[in-house]
Symmetry: C2
Subunit: 109 residues, 2 copies
DNA sequence: ACACTATATGTCACGTCGTGATACAGTCGT
DNA sequence: ACGACTGTATCACGACGTGACATATAGTGT
């Protein structure tokens, strides 16, 4: 698949995918991502093992992330340039979402 | 189900659900929501008929929205107090997401 | 030595969700 | 009469997150 289509297939991004990619400018392994996301969200989001390893495999297959190092019993991933482009798109969407939320927030008080 | 559990089952909210609820402080019917969301997102998000009517039925069943008026060939919905509480929770999550995105955004340039 | 917890990855069945096709019907302009 | 728009509904399909289960190593406390 072309890069454009892959990027579009990831938008809108799930919260899981977003926080995984947000963790990967620094190389990390699956379990390290789980802990990092837990910290970032102050315990709110604890990714299940099925979620993390399934998503990592899919992302690697799609070229969003790549294997940085393959230690024994530790596969360390890193975001690719395609993944970074994807994140820029997703952040634009998030900005729109956030702006629309704040625009109408008084309606929900 | 208790209200607490229903609210949790809607978080994280899908983009579809978010924009539907954002449209419903003003009573609207399905087709009207589609057009309103299309306008809000400047054409980016055009909800499919399957998405909108399926979601509206589920939301009404869960007490997130309620039927405001049932005209011939037009069912008009409105958000409930439970729906508003849900939106306040979701907006908090969105704020966290947005804050984390901006905190690390330089990593993706 | 034993138990427990943390680290670390993987698989699978399950339920939920958005998509797009299909269907049907009324309205409005030309 | 015809097409475009309005309006609702259903269905099969594919994708996704969840949580349970399995497996294995390392470290700590008793």
């Amino acid at each position: 698949m072309e890069i454009e289509k892959i990027i579009k297939s990831y938008i809108p991004m799930t919260e899981t995918a977003f926080y995984i990619l947000l963790s990967l400018p620094i190389p990390r392994h699956g379990y390290g991502i789980i802990k990092h996301v837990e910290e970032l969200t102050e315990g709110r989001l604890v990714l299940g093992s099925g979620t993390i390893y399934g998503t990592l495999t899919k992302m690697q297959r799609d070229g969003i992330i790549t294997i940085y190092a393959d230690e024994k019993r530790k596969t360390i991933y890193e975001i690719t340039d395609v993944g970074k482009a994807l994140m820029r798109h997703e952040m634009n969407r998030l900005r729109e979402l956030h702006a629309n939320a704040w625009k109408y927030k008084e309606e929900f008080l």
